[in-house]
Amino acid sequence: MPDALSSRLNAALATLDPLRVAGAVVFIAAWQLLTLLLPPIILPTPLGVAKRLLSDFWSAPSLSYYGVEEANLYANLIYTAENVAIAVVIGSVIGIMAGLLSARFNLVRVVIDPIIMTAGTVPILIAAPFLLIWFGVGRASAVCLVMFYVIVILYIFAQRAATNLDPVYEDSARTFGATPRRMVWDILVPATVPEILGGLRIALAGAWGLEAIAELLGSQSGIGKVLEVLAGATDPQGIMATLLLLGLTAMIVDAGAAFVVARTAKWSAPAR
């Protein structure tokens, strides 16, 4: 498969693009220069942050002192990632199904559209206090908040993808005698998958931030809880190391999602 090989080579070259690396180099250089002007309590050095990340990853005893259940970044990252995964899986199933149904059945659309549109215009974060009252401090309230967000995003993406699908494909399938089940699995789902997965990537990117904020507002574990504790301890180096870890994780997960999107939508225009 020379095709697959060349596209893989191109992808490898793209990640090694000198301009991309140049951006990061300039940013770190500027950061390093600023540390010469500002005290470490305001702006820690890049190297210090990186070292802190490596040391805190497996063991950060000071965290237990402040009441975090697991005294390392690793376990808290897992906790956050689990919540994101649960929320994204449940939220996307609900959002995609509701979105596709709403595009084909007017009754569904009339009922769900106003709810989603209201939820979409109001910042979802303001639901956090309610959720904390209902579910208390813990997994459930954070997962619920992120799930709402994912549902809204994927509902809109799935609905738009199904609405924009040219009716000629479904008409054509009907003339072949396709059953309603085939119409969904052979036509509607594959035709809308690329656009829906694009929405999933957007939802995923936002989910990390929302989950961290939800934990910041009320939780015993997670990256958000760590950030809250470190902020209370006035530890900018620890905060930046934790943020760096969260950012890197989100980037890796997004790269994985992008890879899956490119694989499942081989038929559409070559991904860039």
Binding site: D166, D171, T175, G177, P190
Partner: protein, 271 residues
Amino acid sequence: MNAPNTSRMIELVHVNRSFKRADGQAVQAVEDVSVAIREGEFVCLVGPSGCGKTTVLQMVAGLLPPTSGEIAVAGHEIAGPGRDRGMVFQKDSVFPWKRVIDNVEYGLKCRDVPAAQRREIAQTYLERVGLAHVAKAWPRELSGGMLKRVAIATVFANGSQVLMLDEPFSALDYVTRHQLQSVLLDLWEEGGSTARRTVLFVTHDVDEALALADRILVFHSGRLIDDLAVTATRPRTTDSLLMPEMVAIKHKLLAHLGLEKPTAPLKVARS
């Protein structure tokens, strides 16, 4: 209409179809159309745009129910789309998410034909339309003319008795259009005159209708206004279109389309 009467493959009896426009006004798209089409006949539906020819085709396909009247295919009144009627759409209807060969197989897959058998049938028809070399390609990698070939191979592979084509070649260039006309005729004539499928072909191109049809139905403002037999022998050549009776039909068609005064054709035909 109790016993299937195969000599009358498609029968429309007092068929009407009206639409409600966005402003609430009703539009009569098809008005009191009655016509019987014999098995194996190649019928072209001709008329200016908005004359109802596509609506008639969609009703026979079962994609659109008539407001009133009856449509029967092979002696049975139709209720929705069916595998006995295949359709090639004006727009590209080849599924972009399936490879070419899987597209050609799709109708057979819907009939639960075993995988090996349907692959063989699909392969055969891809060869017949000259696309065996792109069986594994994605539709986006094909030109517009190639996509039409795929669509034609798909409906023929599906083995429908009735084929409907809605201005299939209108977006193609002159050369490609003529190539595809002969591809279509070759497939139509493949089994000899007894195995021919019944074809409904919508076009606004008068020369295309003359080159393809046994019979031309002319529509205007939703009504069937003329029914012309095209008797020229097949295969038709450039010269066939210059024969006096063909020229006479062409003048009649041009008059119906409002491109010529109705008196002109008679003089030319008799000279």
